[in-house]
């Protein structure tokens, strides 16, 4: 196809979808409106085509879905519970009911395992023997090393050198699981540079190696495929909340780094227009400070790591450094489907500052006995922001219902939080300037 025809075709398809031409939940790449695509070297196109073909074949093969379902049931621990949090909800708003989707209870401690197991099974089908991954703080790296151990794959994880020092425990965890961790010492030595190194490895070893990308970014088919591996979050939550309350929620709330946990829980509600969707990005020290990871509030459309989306960039198009107290939200771009949902208005994206997130973190610990990941605490802080609007949502005598994706648990963040709240000396702080995208 010619590029123009492709772009126009994508725009037409988007219009069809928005006018009721098809469900949003099953929208296929490479384009999400003006976003997505494949901005990668030609050398990778054959591998991306192979991945797309193999993925669609796997989707049509009951043996694949049976195996993934079995692993989720017996290994991941799915379905993850839905927990109502009434003591926390009092801080959200009078009469508001808040439910948490408990992805924090999955094996390896976050939603990441959903995607990792799906892709690792695909790798076996493609006959490849080696996986590579990027990681910031280490959550996606640990999940990938876990799946590689389970499915007998060789595993190399690229991690910025500074992160390997700050997150020595996660490096040890990956190595215990049999993975090789490669410190990245070039560029800014951050997560984005780890992705650059993983892409360079992939170009050179694409015959034997799969790049197990950790979020809904990257070239087609990653955004669509990673979303599909995570959509189980929303499908379970939708059935669970219908069972609990007899109705759909008024709002679904998630944190957005790369955006995989958010796409995972949004997907099942995309075609329910009465359900409001809110993504909360890391506002860091505040948008005006320039130290944040708020692509929608402080970025502009551009291309990074294979996809067109919103991007933190300077006047010339050079990538700008991102910042957040949460390693997992600290990435300069965002999944292209989120960019599309933003521009079409189907979902709203707002920033949450480090301070707001940490306050919500403390609140959930104290009111419900759940230590959330700092990433997920951004979603909790978002729910608190929404509380002021929520009173006006529900019709009749039904209380407003907010569903929050608790994407991960906070064990990894204990040192950061303890220092933040002055429980420990600030010296041993795990300084999370860069991380992987949730």
């Amino acid at each position: 196809m010619s590029g123009t025809a492709g772009r126009d075709g994508a725009r037409r398809r988007m219009r069809d979808v928005l006018l009721g031409g098809g469900p949003l939940a099953t929208h296929e790449g490479p384009y999400f409106g003006d976003f997505g695509g494949r901005f990668v070297p030609e050398a990778l196109i054959a591998a991306l085509d192979e991945l797309e073909t193999e993925y669609h074949k796997a989707l049509a093969d009951p043996a694949f879905s049976d195996e993934l379902e079995r692993l989720h049931r017996t290994y991941t621990g799915r379905p993850s519970p839905l927990t109502e949090v009434p003591r926390f909800a009092r801080h959200v708003g009078d009469g508001v009911r808040v439910f948490l989707k408990r992805e924090d209870l999955n094996h390896t401690g976050s939603h990441k395992i959903n995607n990792v197991l799906g892709q690792a099974l695909l790798v076996k089908r493609m006959g490849k023997r080696r996986v590579i991954a990027e990681t910031g703080a280490g959550q996606h790296g640990v999940a990938t090393a876990t799946a590689a151990a389970l499915l007998d794959l060789e595993c190399t994880v690229y991690m910025g050198e500074e992160d390997t020092q700050r997150q020595a425990l996660n490096v040890a965890r990956m190595e215990l699981l049999g993975a090789t961790v490669v410190p990245v010492t070039i560029g800014a030595r951050t997560l984005k540079d780890a992705i650059n190194e993983a892409l360079r490895d992939w170009v050179a070893n694409v015959d034997s190696t799969h790049y197990l990308l950790g979020t809904v970014t990257g070239p087609h088919p990653f955004p669509e495929m990673v979303r599909d591996f995570h959509k189980i979050i929303g499908e379970e939550a939708r059935a669970q909340i219908l069972e609990e309350t007899g109705a759909l929620p008024d709002a679904v709330v998630a944190c957005v780094g790369g955006g995989s946990n958010a796409m995972g829980i949004f997907n099942a509600f995309l075609d329910d227009p009465q359900v409001r969707l809110f993504g909360f990005e890391a506002g860091g020290a505040g948008i005006s400070s320039g130290r944040h990871s708020a692509r929608f509030s402080g970025g502009a459309p551009g291309v990074l790591h294979g996809a067109r989306s919103y991007l933190l960039q300077d006047e010339d198009g050079q990538t700008l450094p991102s910042h957040s107290v949460s390693a997992g939200l600290d990435y300069p771009s965002v999944g292209p489907e989120h960019a599309w949902l933003h521009d079409t208005g189907r979902a709203q994206y707002r920033p949450v500052t480090d301070d707001e997130a940490m306050e919500a973190f403390r609140l959930l610990c104290r009111t419900e006995g759940i230590i959330p990941a700092i990433e997920s605490a951004h979603a909790l802080a978002g729910a608190i922001q929404l509380g002021r609007e929520a009173a006006g949502w529900a019709g009749g005598d039904r209380p407003p219902v907010v569903l929050v994706n608790l994407s991960g648990r906070g064990d990894k963040d204990v040192a950061t939080a303890a220092a933040w709240f002055g429980i420990l000396e600030p010296e041993p702080v795990v300084k999370a300037d860069e991380g992987e995208q949730l």
Partner: protein
């Protein structure tokens, strides 16, 4: 304007070298703008043209160069740290356009997107540039650039790789103007002990897909490698070996001397090639 209506200075240079009294392949030299400084990079380009480079590939430094190995990354990082801007590239193009070799700009796509595709094409043409080499832009995503290159009579150099299917070779060849850039190996830029053995086959396959000119890059750094590639390709693209001569030098003057020495050797290699008749 159709593709064939556009006059390509690069194609003319390559054809002229191929049909002269001593037919040979072109030597294409890469250097990044802003390294060791913006004026220093212009001097380096002039030096390499004077020493025997036939076509210039001028790199725009970028924060996330996924197709580049450590040598070019190091130079690009230094250029960015020195404050090199996209506009500096156009200034350097203008300065070296008269040096005697067509000047192509090698750029990652976001820099052009941010500038504005048509605006960049217009300003590049006005500066005397010959066109763009786009390592992370495939023709499928290049509708705006294809139109702008036609509008402003610029070359579009897309890449093919050993993994490219016959269908993709055909579509990439059809979208390219000037020449097609054949990546000799699956990998990134850098010096290698041997040039990928798949390179010769890729050149043959790319010609079979309709390409009039195919130049080979990635991993070519030594005169004997240049001679080998010049035996079957229309051009030999060298980057890291040139950049390294500047990186390793104690000062600019020594760097320019070293650069000229490396180019002399490569130019000799290209001239010594036993050409395989097309």
């Amino acid at each position: 304007m159709s593709v064939t209506d556009v006059r390509s200075a690069t194609a003319e240079r390559i054809d002229e070298l191929a049909s002269g009294p001593a037919p040979r392949a072109a030597l294409i030299g890469y250097l990044p703008v802003g390294f060791p400084s913006v004026p220093g990079s212009a001097r380096a380009v002039r030096t390499m043209v004077d020493a025997g480079v036939d076509v210039v590939e001028l790199g725009m430094p970028y924060t996330d160069p996924v197709m580049d190995g450590p040598v070019i990354q190091a130079a690009a990082n230094r250029a960015l740290a020195n404050g090199t801007r996209v506009r500096d590239t156009l200034r350097v193009v203008e300065e070296v356009a008269s040096a005697g070799a067509p000047v192509l700009v090698m750029t990652y796509w976001n820099l052009v997107l941010r500038y504005g595709v048509d605006a960049y094409a217009r300003d590049l043409a006005a500066a005397g540039g010959a066109g763009l080499i786009t390592p992370d832009l495939i023709p499928d995503e290049a509708a705006d650039w294809i139109a702008a290159a036609d509008e402003h009579a610029l070359d579009r150099v897309f890449l093919v790789a050993p993994s490219s299917t016959p269908e993709r070779l055909a579509s990439t060849v059809a979208a390219s103007r000037g020449f097609v850039y054949a990546a000799s190996t699956m990998g990134v830029t850098g010096e290698r002990a041997t040039v990928g053995e798949r390179a010769e086959q890729l050149v043959a396959d790319t010609r079979a897909a309709g390409a009039a000119r195919v130049c080979v890059g990635l991993g070519v750094s030594r005169p004997e490698q240049a001679a080998q590639v010049a035996g079957y390709a229309d051009g030999v693209i060298v980057g890291s070996a040139l950049v390294r001569s500047l990186l390793d030098a104690p000062d600019e003057a020594a760097g320019l001397d070293a650069l000229a020495g490396v180019v002399h050797g490569l130019a000799e290699g290209v001239r010594s090639a036993q050409r395989i008749p097309r």
